[in-house]
């Protein structure tokens, strides 16, 4: 058996620590019933199942800690090359920006900006196609959700103006 400290060992330690934290949190993060009606009844306490889970996590974490030192799996996060790290990070940043854009500017405008920016970043050089897809696809999704599924996506900001009736689409 190989005896080495690897990413699985770190994960195992995190599971064990997580189990201990969970166990400590149980009394303070679970509401108590205000009144106990039928005192003779045997009911499952809301704390029992979380305690079982915490104990299981601790025991499994300990097993994993023991087992981890013999595992030869490769941590693919460390194997990511620079391009992958940059691409994934950029996408996460774009997603983080997309949320306020979508909520404040509306789904269509926010999504159009997102599609145009992201498609350009990922290699599209046909800007006309990028703009057309960026505008018409979110409009199609918006219309489908609104008219077919009868659910709302964030509307256009100019929806507040009475002359602009976006519900037409």
């Amino acid at each position: 058996m190989e005896n080495k400290f690897n990413f699985n060992t770190i994960a195992a330690i995190m599971f064990v620590a997580g189990a201990i934290i969970l166990f400590i949190f149980i009394p303070s993060h679970i509401d108590k019933p205000l009144i106990q009606l039928a005192t003779g009844q045997f009911n499952l306490s809301p704390e029992l199942f979380p305690r079982i889970i915490a104990v299981c996590m601790f025991l499994l974490g300990a097993w994993f800690l023991y087992k981890s030192r013999s595992l030869t799996e490769v941590n693919e996060l460390l194997n990511l090359d620079k391009e992958a790290i940059v691409n994934v990070t950029t996408t996460l940043v774009m997603m983080a920006i997309y949320v306020p854009l979508m909520v404040n500017l509306g789904f269509v405008i926010g999504s159009a900006i997102m599609i145009i920016a992201m498609s350009t970043y990922f290699g599209n050089r046909n800007y006309v196609a990028g703009v057309l897809v960026g505008i018409f696809l979110p409009m199609a999704i918006f219309a489908t959700f609104r008219r077919v599924l009868l659910v709302e996506l964030p509307p256009f900001p100019i929806d507040i103006y009475p002359l602009t009736n976006w519900s037409l689409i």
């Binding site: 045997f42 599609i115 659910v151």
Partner: protein
């Protein structure tokens, strides 16, 4: 049960059901034909659409995506040796060789006809099996249900890809996520950490889309689209498949269908292993095994019939016991729950007609599958060359839109991104998220059944389970044995066919 079946026929024969199912099949084939875009991702992304439709439209729509996606993966596998989905890997053994010989059209048509044959037969077997199993399931009470759920969760963890203890840990993490919100017995708040948005629990839809769809997108964006596929590679050439050629593969299709049907009922094994097993069985039974891998139509038929035959039987444990067998059926559970339907014995009792209608719709879907597939093969072949630079942002936009419509709360978008990042990291460090999703979905039911058992036992849980509920005791007793056998079997199959994740 028979009355429900007859009623189900009437419910299933609706024009709008056919239209939505056709839409699902088309979208499934479309996504399946895109290399790197999986059926799982398509189902997770399209799940929100099913939420806002009638159950008889939404669930058949998703089933259409499921069936279409599994078949769609064979198109790039045959044309350019690039499987659209994992299920189509075995198709690359003979498909591209047939294309090189100028028989691409024959191979694509053989893939379509054998997929439909396998799928149709396994659906009919599913309908025949579901009635008796549901009748037995109806006899189960809360203790038995708790025991079965416990067994199912352990088995799913054991058969998930990777190390057993990692599967179990992910299950426990899923059970913890499932505890956040209200406890299912007394509705007391648990672990909401001051966030009112999760007082009722972590929202299911953002979690499912995040954990199943976003990691696939992240993997796809690691490299910018560089490999250009030439248009001439996607030309479908050669003569059409003849009846005699299809008939000559009849035995292989029947064998692969039986293999796929059997595999479909085992949790956690899935289409990939079924396709490899079907292929291997066809090769060893053949009088000309040397032609396999050199462009043999039988090789395509064997893999495709087997992988599509898995689709129907995976619904047997889901609909009768409420246990999803793989990540694709977890998505279907999400669709059922969103419709206010909880898969399990009660569903069969209360909504038997609806369940049979969905199953009959699956059978009808195969006829639509044949028509859409046959007409649209050239179109789906072109789909292979669509630019990733457009597809990736579009899929992201769709994921965000689907999440938003669930509750119209910006917090859900944060949940989506959190679970997306969680799923991606888990994938990279070899933790399978399927047991986590199963734990999240089944955890509250398990706790509720366990709570009911505690109440029924009047404080003497162990003696109650052992002496008054012998079936419960027996299920608990056989859990380690079944878990070991399933773990060994799935590991052996994975090792034998070199299948990972």
């Amino acid at each position: 049960m028979f009355e429900s079946f007859v009623e189900g026929i009437g419910l299933a024969l609706r024009l709008d059901t056919m239209i939505y199912m056709s839409g699902g099949l088309f979208l499934g084939m479309f996504v399946g034909a895109l290399p790197g875009f999986t059926t799982l991702m398509a189902m997770a992304l399209l799940l929100p659409i099913s939420f806002f439709l009638d159950p008889l439209l939404g669930i058949p729509f998703l089933i259409g995506v499921y069936k279409g996606g599994i078949y769609g993966g064979s198109i790039p596998a045959i044309l350019i040796s690039m499987p659209g989905t994992g299920a189509a890997v075995a198709t690359t053994f003979d498909g591209p060789a047939l294309t090189k010989k100028g028989q691409g059209r024959k191979a694509l048509e053989m893939a379509l006809f054998s997929s439909v044959s396998g799928d149709l037969t396994s659906d009919i077997i599913t309908i025949a099996l579901i009635g008796p199993i549901a009748a037995v399931a109806l006899l189960l009470g809360p203790p038995e249900l708790a025991a079965i759920l416990f067994l199912a969760l352990i088995v799913i963890s054991a058969t998930s890809s990777g190390v057993f203890v990692k599967g179990l840990l992910m299950l426990v993490v899923g059970l913890f996520f499932g505890m956040i919100g209200q406890d299912p017995i007394g509705a007391l708040s648990r672990f909401s950490f001051g966030f009112p948005e999760i007082e009722a629990g972590i929202p299911l839809l953002p979690m499912l889309i995040g954990v199943f769809a976003l990691p696939e997108i992240f993997v796809n964006i690691e490299k910018k689209a560089s490999s250009l596929i030439k248009a001439e590679d996607l030309k479908i050439s050669g003569a059409r498949l003849t009846w005699a050629e299809f008939k000559s593969c009849g035995r292989t299709i029947a064998r692969s269908t039986m293999i796929g049907t059997g595999i479909g009922m085992i949790p956690g094994v899935g289409q990939v292993v079924a396709a490899f097993m079907g292929y291997a069985a066809a090769k060893s039974a053949s009088s000309h095994p040397e032609t396999f891998g050199q462009g043999d139509l039988e090789g395509v038929a064997a893999a495709e019939a087997a992988n599509n035959a898995v689709n129907g039987p995976t619904l047997v444990p889901l609909l009768t016991l409420g246990i999803p067998g793989d990540n694709l059926t977890v998505i279907l559970v999400g669709a059922f729950i969103a419709q206010g339907l909880r898969p399990g014995p009660q569903l069969m009792e209360e909504q038997g007609a609806l369940v049979f209608a969905i199953l009959i719709a699956m059978v009808i879907a195969n006829i639509l599958f044949l028509g859409i597939g046959y007409v649209c093969i050239p179109l789906f072949a072109r789909v292979v060359s669509l630019r990733k630079s457009f597809l990736l942002p579009i899929t992201l936009v769709f994921a965000f839109a689907g999440t938003w419509v669930f509750r119209a709360q910006p917090f859900d978008l944060a949940v989506l991104v959190f679970f997306g990042a969680f799923g991606y990291i888990a994938k990279k460090i070899h933790f399978d998220v399927t047991p986590m999703a199963m734990g999240f979905i089944l955890g509250p039911t398990l706790e509720y059944s366990f709570g009911q058992s505690v109440t029924l036992s009047s404080g003497h849980l162990f003696s109650y389970m052992l002496f008054e509920r012998p079936i419960t005791g027996a299920i608990f007793a056989i859990t380690p044995v079944i878990t070991y056998l399933m773990w060994r079997r799935s590991n052996r199959l994975r090792n034998q066919f070199g299948v990972d994740e």
